[in-house]
Amino acid sequence: MEFGLSEEQGLLRESVDRFLDDNADLDRVRKFADDPDDRGDDIWSGLAELGVPAILVPEAYGGIGLSALDAAVVAESLGAHATPAPFLSTAVLAVAALRLAGDEAQRGAYLPRIADGSLRIGAAMSELSGARQDAGVEARADGTLHGTALFVLDPDADIFLVADRTRRFHLVRADADGVEGTLLPQVDRTRRIAEVAFTGASAEALHASDPELALQVIDLGRVIVAADTLGAGQEMLDQAVAYAKQREQFNRVIASFQAVKHLCAEMAAEIEPSRALVWYAAHALDEVPDEARLMACHAKAHLAEVGQFVGKTATIVHGGMGFTDLLGLHYWFKRMGFNRQILGGPERVREEAARVQGLA
C-alpha cells in the first residue's frame, strides 16, 4: 500500500518546477499577460522538451503514456507558477478526446504532433458543463459546424476541438473559413479564452465520439483544474508564510502575531486534505472507474472552495502589498478564480456529484 507520489512523480514535479523557475518566472508571465501576440511559445517548447505535452499520449503515438496522476502532478506545478501554457486544452482535453473518441487514423495524425509540442489544440467544450445564453454548436450532416462556442480555451491554437450539442467531438482548423474567434478579456491574465462563431466551417468528426466519452473527458479536465488550484493555493500559502516572516510591524515580524499565524494554519489545514483528495481523484480516473466521476466532481468543487478561501486569506496576510500589482500575488488569486468557474462552478458540479450517486 502506498498512498502518495512515486519517486518518478517526484522527479517529474522537480524537473517541471526547475524549468519554470528558470524560464517562466513572474516577469515572463507578465509579458504574456501584456502582449496579446505572445503565445508563450518558448515556454511550451521548453515544456515539450521535458515531455509535458506527451504525458498522456500513448507511446505508440510518440508519447510517454503516463497516468492522470502524472498529469495532475504537472498541473500542480503549472498552477504553482501561474504558467501560461495550453496544457489543459491541448495536452489533457484534446489528447483525452482523441484517445477516447478518435479512430486509429485520427490518433496517428494528431497525437504525435501534440506530443512533440508542434500542434496546439484549443478546446471549445464549455457547453458540455453548462451552456450559457444561447451558445452551442450544431454539426450538420455535411460535416459543417454552425453556432457559437463560448469560453474557448487557448484560442491562439492551430486547431479547435469542438463539442457539439449532442456531445460529440469535431476538429476544425482555427484559420478555416467560417471560424471567427473573438478574444474575451477576462480577469485571469495567465489564460486566454475566446468566443468562437462557426458559420458553416468544415470540420472532421472524431469517429468514435459518443456522449458518455465526452463526459469522461470533462472528468479528467476537472481533476487537472483542481490540481492546478492545489498548486496555486500551496504557492500562495508559501508566499504568505514567507512574507509574514520578514514583514515587521509593532517591532516584530507579523508571523509572530497569532491572528496571522492562525490564518496561515487555516490555509494549511484546508490544503493538506485537498492534496490527498486531488491525488486520489486522479488515481481513480485510471484505476477505480466506479468512483472516477464522483471523485472528479468532489475534487473540482472542493478545490474551488479551498482556492477561494486561500486566495482571499493569503492576500490579507500580505496587507496592502497583497492588493497591489507590485507583488503580483493576484496572478494566483485570479488563476484560482478562473479555475473555480471553468468546466463547471462548484454548485453545478456538486449537483452532478449528487446525481452520480442517485441523490438528485
Partner: protein
C-alpha cells in the same frame, strides 16, 4: 499510488468479517463501560486479536506483531458493520501506551492487564480550573512525606471520574523548578481518602465529566511514572496518542451514510430533504470534506507504513482540528434537515436516531475544545508545521 493491501490482507479482512458475522449478537448494545457485556466483548476481541492486538500477552494483550494495515482493516470492518470495537477508554488509549513506553516492569504488570480487560477504569487528571490550554501552569501539589506523596489541589473536566477506579494525574512536585520541569505523573486509586468528586453537568445534560478535589491525599511514593519532574514529558507522549484517536475517518463516513438515509426520509411539505437543492448542496460539500479527510488519513498511514519516507507532518498535524470541526458541521446538518424535529431531545416522541444528532452536535463541540482547542491546534500547525515564531511572552493579568 498503490492502494491494494495485498492478498494476505484480503484474507485477513475476510476473517474479520467472518468474526463479526458470527459474534455480533454478543456485542454490547449501549451498556456502560462498567458492564459485564462490555468486559466479555473486550475479552473476546483480545482473544481474537481485534483489541489490544500488539500488546504483549504477558501484559494481557493479544501479543500480535505490529501491523498498521491489519489494525486499519479491523477499524474499517467494525465501523462498516456498526459493531463496537475494542474499548477506547482513556486508560487504554492513553495510559497503556505510556506505560509500555515509560513504565517500570512492575507497573506494566500491575496496571496493563486489568486495564485492557476493562476491569480497571481510569480517568485523566490533567486540567485544572486555572490550567487548561496552559496546562503546564497546573498547581495541584504533591509533597513527599516519608514514603508517600501528599496531594492537595483540584482537577476539573475529569471525564468519567465517577466511574474510575484509578486516576493518572499531573501534579506539581518541584515548585521551584521552571513550570515544565516541576511536574510529575502519578497514579493512584480514586477511593483514596481525601478525594472528593463533585458533579458537573455538561451541555448535553450528561454528567460525564466531574470536578475532583484532593485534600491531603496520600499516595505511595513508587506510584510515579518516569522520574520526579519529568511528568510533562510523560504526559506529552500520551497526548500524541490521543490526537491520533480523535480523527477517526471511519466514524465520519458511517455517520455521513446515516445522514444520507435521514435526508431520504425526512420531509417538509411532503418534500424529502434530499430533494431540496440547498440541503443537497450542503450534503455534497460535507461529503467532499469527509472524503478528503479519509484520503488525508490514508496518506499519513501510508507514510508511517513506509517508514515516514514522505513528509506528512502537516497532514497529520491538521487532523484533530479538521476532523472535529467536520463532525460538528456534519451533525449540525443532520439537525437542520429535520428542522423542528431536530430539536427533539431527551425521552419523548418524534426522536430520530435516539436524539443522536443533537447529542453529537454538542459532543463534537466539546471535542473541538477538549484535548487542545482548535486555537491551540492552529498554534501548533503554524509554529511546528509552518515554522512561524512563537508569540512573545507578555504578562497581562486579568482585571479584578
Amino acid at each position: 499510488m498503490d492502494l491494494s493491501y495485498g492478498p494476505q490482507y484480503d484474507a485477513f479482512r475476510e476473517e474479520v468479517r467472518d468474526f463479526i458475522g458470527k459474534h455480533r449478537d454478543q456485542a454490547p448494545k449501549g451498556q456502560g463501560i462498567r458492564s459485564e457485556a462490555v468486559r466479555n466483548w473486550q475479552k473476546l476481541l483480545i482473544q481474537h486479536g481485534y483489541a489490544a492486538r500488539t500488546i504483549p500477552a504477558e501484559y494481557g494483550g493479544h501479543g500480535g506483531e505490529p501491523d498498521i494495515l491489519k489494525a486499519r482493516i479491523i477499524g474499517e470492518e467494525f465501523a462498516a458493520a456498526q459493531v463496537p470495537g475494542g474499548l477506547g477508554s482513556q486508560g487504554i488509549s492513553m495510559l497503556v501506551p505510556t506505560l509500555l513506553e515509560l513504565g517500570t516492569e512492575e507497573q506494566k504488570r500491575q496496571f496493563i492487564p486489568p486495564t485492557l480487560a476493562g476491569e480497571m477504569v481510569w480517568c485523566q487528571g490533567y486540567s485544572e480550573p486555572n490550567a487548561g490550554s496552559d496546562l503546564a501552569s497546573l498547581r495541584t501539589s504533591a509533597v513527599l512525606d516519608g514514603d508517600e506523596w501528599v496531594i492537595n489541589g483540584s482537577k476539573i473536566w475529569t471525564s468519567t471520574a465517577h466511574l474510575a477506579d484509578w486516576i493518572f494525574c499531573l501534579v506539581r512536585t518541584e515548585p521551584d523548578a521552571p513550570k515544565h520541569q516541576g511536574i510529575s505523573f502519578l497514579l493512584f486509586r480514586m477511593d483514596t481518602p481525601g478525594i472528593e468528586i463533585r458533579p458537573l453537568v455538561d451541555m448535553t445534560m450528561a454528567g460525564n465529566f466531574k470536578e475532583v478535589f484532593f485534600t491531603d491525599v496520600r499516595v505511595p511514593k513508587e506510584q510515579i511514572v518516569g522520574s520526579r519532574g519529568e511528568g510533562w514529558y510523560v504526559a506529552n507522549a500520551i497526548l500524541g496518542h490521543e490526537r491520533d484517536t480523535l480523527g477517526d475517518p471511519n466514524a465520519a463516513l458511517t455517520r455521513l451514510n446515516r445522514l444520507v438515509e435521514l435526508m431520504k426520509t425526512e420531509t417538509v411539505d411532503g418534500q424529502r430533504a434530499i430533494d431540496n437543492p440547498a440541503f443537497r448542496d450542503r450534503l455534497i460539500k460535507i461529503q467532499a470534506r469527509v472524503t478528503a479527510m479519509r484520503f488525508n488519513d490514508l496518506r499519513v498511514l501510508s507514510s508511517r507504513l513506509n517508514d515516514g519516507s514522505t513528509d506528512t507532518g502537516l497532514a497529520r498535524m491538521i487532523t484533530k482540528l479538521q476532523a472535529t470541526e467536520l463532525r460538528h458541521d456534519l451533525e449540525g446538518l443532520g439537525i437542520d434537515v429535520m428542522g423542528e424535529f431536530g430539536l427533539m431531545y431527551g425521552k419523548g416522541p418524534h426522536l430520530r436516531d435516539q436524539g443522536s444528532w443533537q447529542n453529537h452536535y454538542m459532543y463534537f463541540l466539546g471535542l473541538i475544545i477538549g484535548g487542545g482547542t482548535s486555537q491551540i491546534q492552529k498554534n501548533i500547525i503554524s509554529e511546528r508545521g509552518l515554522g512561524m515564531p512563537r508569540e512573545p511572552k507578555a504578562v497581562i493579568p486579568a482585571e479584578h
